[in-house]
Each structure stands twice: as structure tokens, then as C-alpha cells.
């Protein structure tokens, strides 16, 4: 998956926006100590619940329920994580792998399909395109929960009930992705470039691969990142649809936290391990994620 988003450095077409932002940055007020106080406090509040998760994950069950609470991490994290992976009912290692497969496949296809459709909507003229883009926006408003039961029956007709494709297929059409790509493509892909390629006799699909897709890479990277995070974290449908032998990591988590007796520190260790990959992602791609959120906002 990472091959697609490995090189999110924007190419030529994005230059104008960059310089504009930098310019306005030069005009900014200097931050006061009060501002720093607000920022530090916000940072603390943002990170604290995750820190608290680590504290609980590294303490024994007895310590978790003590008053006054223990505020610093204990020494049992390794032990709990070990217990997590050793528990055959939870299948945590398999769940992690499954989540990678699910979130990864969805990401790949969503990016490709969204780029195709987004390009078509932004740059190609065809009858009905206005109605169709309206439909795309409409699709963003359909919550999956509404169709859970028919969807479940359909998976059965296809004979794939309970397996990983049941939680991959319904998510491959992303209205948000198409919309994002359309917005981005209409600004980032110069019409002249497409026209020039056409004059050279390039087919539309060839124009897509060699002109449009490279220009869309920054947006594709962001869409990929968001899609991956969303489906890594997805819970309800996988919970309903997957058979117990094919858990994703969120489903495995819920299996840890339910049941007649619950080991809270183990649950927290599981939550920690389920969040860790995304924390790694944000450390590696934090800058791109932020510019993605901000670009999406300006262009939408």
C-alpha cells in the first residue's frame, strides 16, 4: 500500500498555493506566552487520554481500580502485551494482520477508483455529469448501519460470508474520495496539459496514468492515509459480518472487553496495541496528514 503514498512530495502544479501560505505566514502576529500556555494545555489534553491508556495498560487490575489512582506507568506492559498475543481466543496477531489486509486493500482500491472518477468529473465533459456528481454527494449520506441486514444476506449469496472480503467490498466506493479527488484534480491538473496530450494522440486512460495520476499524488496520499485510518478503526460492520475466526483488530478488542469477566488491564493493553500502528503512521506522515486536512478544507 505504501508504494502508492511513498512519495507524497507535491510536484509543479501545487506551487502557487504553497507560496501564498508562506507569504501570509510572514504577516502573522508573534505568539504571546499566553498563546503558548493555551497550546501546551491543548497538547496535554490531546495526549493525556492516550497516556492514561498506557498507564492502565501497564498496571495490574488491582492498581487500576485504586483511589487515589497511580499516575505514572507501571511495569506490566510487556507482560500484558505478551498475555494478549498468547490468548488463543483473541487471535490478536491474526487480527492485526487482518486489519492490515482489510484497511490496505480498501485504501488501494478507493484511491484508484476515486482518482478515476474524480478526474472524469473534474476534467472530462460528458452527458449527465452534473446529476452524477450530485449522486456522489448523496452517497456520502448513507450510513452503512442502515443496510446491514441486506448486506449480510448479499454476502451470503456471493458465498463469502464471514470472510475478509465481506468487510472490504462494501467500502470500495467512497463518495468522499471521489469528491476530494474531483476538487483536487480541477485545480491541480492544468487543462493545457491534457489538451497537449490529446494532441499527441494519447487515449484518455493513458492521459490518466501518465498526466493526471502523478499530479494527483498528494491528494491520493492524503486520501489513502485517511482511508487507511478509517478502516483500521472501523468496528460495527466487521463486528456483525466477520466470523469469529477472521477478526479485525477492533473486533478482537471488543472480544477482550466483553465477556463475563473482564481483565481491564488486558483490554487497555489491547487498545494500546491497536492504536500503536496509527501512532507510528502519524509520526511518519504527520506533516502530510495535516496539510491534507488543511488543503481539503480550502478546496472543498
Amino acid at each position: 500500500m505504501t508504494t502508492v503514498i511513498a512519495d507524497p512530495e507535491p510536484e509543479a502544479p501545487r506551487k502557487p498555493l504553497r507560496t501564498k501560505v508562506v507569504e501570509s505566514n510572514n504577516q502573522l502576529f508573534r505568539a504571546s506566552p499566553l498563546n503558548y500556555l493555551v497550546l501546551v494545555l491543548t497538547f496535554f489534553l490531546s495526549v493525556f487520554p492516550l497516556y492514561w491508556m498506557l498507564v492502565m495498560a501497564s498496571r495490574t487490575n488491582d492498581e487500576i481500580v485504586q483511589i487515589p489512582p497511580k499516575l505514572i506507568p507501571g511495569s506490566h506492559l510487556g507482560e500484558h502485551v505478551g498475555a494478549l498475543f498468547d490468548n488463543p481466543d483473541v487471535m490478536f496477531a491474526k487480527a492485526l494482520l487482518n486489519s492490515f489486509i482489510v484497511a490496505g486493500s480498501i485504501t488501494l482500491f478507493v484511491v484508484i477508483f476515486s482518482a478515476l472518477a474524480g478526474f472524469a468529473f473534474a476534467k472530462l465533459r460528458f452527458r449527465g455529469s452534473n446529476v452524477l456528481i450530485g449522486l456522489v454527494v448523496l452517497t456520502m449520506m448513507v450510513p452503512v448501519q442502515l443496510g446491514a441486514v441486506p448486506l449480510y444476506m448479499m454476502m451470503d449469496w456471493f458465498g463469502i460470508q464471514g470472510t475478509l472480503p465481506t468487510v472490504i467490498l462494501p467500502y470500495l466506493a467512497s463518495g468522499f474520495g471521489v469528491f476530494l479527488m474531483r476538487q483536487y484534480a480541477s485545480q491541480a491538473v492544468p487543462d493545457e496539459l491534457i489538451e497537449a496530450a490529446r494532441v499527441d494522440g494519447a487515449t484518455t486512460i493513458r492521459i490518466f496514468w501518465s498526466v493526471v495520476l502523478p499530479a494527483l499524488r498528494p491528494a491520493a496520499a492524503i486520501l489513502g492515509l485517511f482511508t487507511f485510518m478509517t478502516y483500521w478503526n472501523d468496528f460495527l460492520w466487521p463486528y456483525v459480518a466477520l466470523s469469529p475466526e477472521h477478526p479485525t483488530v477492533q473486533v478482537a478488542l471488543s472480544r477482550l472487553s466483553s465477556g463475563y469477566y473482564t481483565d481491564q488491564s488486558l483490554v487497555m493493553a489491547g487498545t494500546f496495541m491497536a492504536t500503536l500502528p496509527l501512532l507510528v503512521v502519524i509520526v511518519l506522515f504527520g506533516r502530510q496528514l495535516i496539510s491534507g486536512i488543511m488543503d481539503g478544507a480550502v478546496k472543498a
Binding site: 504577516q27 508573534r30 448513507v142 443496510g147 487515449t203 466483553s258 504527520g286
Partner: protein
């Protein structure tokens, strides 16, 4: 508008075959390009939704006989106090969480929109909550809001206050759930507002500064009006998310009957009511009707918003 390419006239003469092929390509490709999305959505999005509508016209227990009842389910739903209670909670929770969230996010955006050291660190810091899964957020916050050993009660104990049974009361449960939602989304929205602020031309501020306007005044008379389109856009997103609020209230008070959202149904949202009818009562017909009411609600609110946005962007 720039997003429509002018038809390309071939510069050189081509063989008729090639030009026909090229015409097909230009006519057909757009449809081919958008078709994967629409085919997939048709199968996995539209069909289940339409099928749900068909189901909603029936008395359809999960096990047992199905009978066609027309619009009976809808009629019953409109007179169902539990449905309206869920609608009220959904709207209430949306307001209680969104209003402070926007105020905080704006404040944060203004603060971030300055010359600051370690800019990326602070920005990454505020989106960290957003990458945490809802399930994880709720598990963590449920421990924090535990009645007996939770951090929240320990802290209010410093001020000599009585421990609160957070899941029991309307105000306390709404407060706790709003905090989960806001923790996850305030930083994200702040970044969106920040982006919009940075796109505002600095000349406007310079002119205002020359006229002697204070920073506060500049915020109210320049920043906020210029942010209006962005605010409306994020509001749509928040509404769609808010109407579907589910995991936080569900996992907040776990155990038997969790789907009812508290002992007084004080934090049962519409989606929870949908799932309760479908998967506790196993009445798919009625649940289907709830599903369609939610869908219509989202649709109406969003359409109003889209019209508003269009009018405002048209006025620019």
C-alpha cells in the same frame, strides 16, 4: 468554470479509423472512469438501502412470517415517543457537543495562526485524538468516568464535590459523551479553520490595522465572515456525523441493555434506536422505517446546507 475541458480539435489530419476510435474514447471513457464507483455503490450501497425500504413496508420479524403492511410502520413511528426521544437526544447531543467544539476550535485556530515555535509538533498534537478509534476513545473515557475509581471523580473530589454517577443523569452523561466527541474532533476542526484563515488575504488585515481596528475587532469583522463557507461545510460534516452518533453512547454504559442509552433513555440516539429495533427486538420492518427516517433527516438537513453554501459562495 474551469473544470470543463473545451473539446479538443485535432491539430493534424488522422485516419478515419483513428479518429473514430478517439471519439469513442472521448465519449466512452468518462463513463468507464466513473463506473467502478457507481457499480460498487449500486451493489453495496444503494441496493441494501432500497431493500431496507422494501423491508420497512412489512411486518418483518427476523425469524417468522413477513406480512406486507404498507406505511403502517411509518405511521406508528411518528407516534412513537421513544423515537422522538431518540431524535431529541440526537439533536441535543449534537448541539451540546458542536457548539463548544466550534468555539474551542476557532480559539485554537487563532492561536495556531501565529508565529510559533515547534509549529508541526503542536499541529500534530491536536490531530492525535482524531486518529484514535472511537472504540478506543470510549474505552479510555469510560474508565476515566467510572463512578468508583475513575479519574474524573477523583479530581472533582479535590474540590470537595460528591462523586458523580456519570451514566445516571442526563446532564452528566451528555457532558461525558460530548467530551469524547469533542476530544476527538476539536483539533481536526481547528486545523480546517486554520487553513481557511491562512487563505484570507493579508491585505484585508493590513487595511484594518491602518484604520486602527484592534485584533479582536479584526477577528469579528474580517476573520469570522471570511470563514463562513468553511463553517458551513464543517457543519454539514458534523451533522452527518452527529446524526449517526452511535459508538460513544453505546460503549459509555456497557452491559445488558446498553443499546437503550441509559436508564431513562437519556442518551439513546437515533442510530441506537435503529439497532435496538433491528437487533434487540429483531423487528426489521420497524428498524427499516427508522433507518429511512434517519436517512431523510440527513438528506433534508444536508440539502438545506448545500443550498445555503451555494448561495453564499455565489455571493462572493
Amino acid at each position: 468554470m474551469s473544470d470543463i475541458t473545451a473539446p479538443v480539435t485535432p491539430a493534424r489530419a488522422r485516419s478515419p479509423w483513428r479518429s473514430r476510435l478517439s471519439r469513442w474514447d472521448q465519449k466512452g471513457s468518462p463513463y468507464a472512469f466513473v463506473s467502478p464507483f457507481f457499480i460498487l455503490f449500486g451493489i453495496f450501497g444503494a441496493f441494501p438501502l432500497l431493500y431496507t425500504f422494501w423491508v420497512s413496508l412489512h411486518s418483518w420479524p427476523l425469524l417468522g412470517e413477513h406480512t406486507f403492511t404498507g406505511l403502517d410502520n411509518y405511521q406508528k413511528l411518528l407516534q412513537d415517543p421513544q423515537f422522538w426521544n431518540a431524535a431529541k437526544n440526537t439533536l441535543g447531543l449534537f448541539l451540546v457537543s458542536t457548539v463548544p467544539q466550534y468555539v474551542l476550535a476557532l480559539w485554537l485556530a487563532v492561536t495556531l495562526n501565529r508565529k510559533i515555535m515547534a509549529r508541526t509538533l503542536f499541529r500534530v498534537g491536536v490531530v492525535i485524538p482524531n486518529i484514535t478509534s472511537v472504540a478506543a476513545v470510549t474505552l479510555i473515557f469510560s474508565m476515566i468516568f467510572a463512578k468508583g475509581f475513575g479519574l474524573a471523580n477523583w479530581i472533582i473530589g479535590w474540590f470537595g464535590l460528591e462523586a458523580v454517577d456519570w451514566t445516571a443523569h442526563t446532564w452528566s452523561s451528555w457532558l461525558a459523551i460530548s467530551m469524547m466527541v469533542d476530544w476527538r474532533w476539536t483539533g481536526y476542526n481547528a486545523l480546517i479553520f486554520l487553513a481557511a484563515m491562512q487563505a484570507i488575504s493579508s491585505e484585508l488585515y493590513e487595511a484594518a490595522a491602518i484604520d486602527g481596528a484592534t485584533r479582536t475587532r479584526q477577528f469579528w469583522s474580517i476573520t469570522l465572515p471570511m470563514l463562513r463557507p468553511t463553517l458551513l461545510f464543517t457543519t454539514i460534516t458534523s451533522i452527518i456525523g452527529g446524526v449517526q452518533l452511535f459508538t460513544e453512547p453505546l460503549l459509555f454504559a456497557p452491559g445488558a441493555g446498553a443499546i437503550q442509552g441509559g436508564t431513562l433513555r437519556q442518551f439513546q440516539t437515533l442510530t441506537m434506536y435503529l439497532i435496538e429495533n433491528g437487533f434487540t427486538r429483531f423487528e426489521f420492518g420497524y428498524a427499516g422505517a427508522v433507518a429511512w427516517m434517519i436517512f431523510l433527516l440527513v438528506l433534508i438537513i444536508s440539502l438545506i446546507n448545500i443550498l445555503l453554501v451555494r448561495r453564499i459562495s455565489g455571493a462572493d
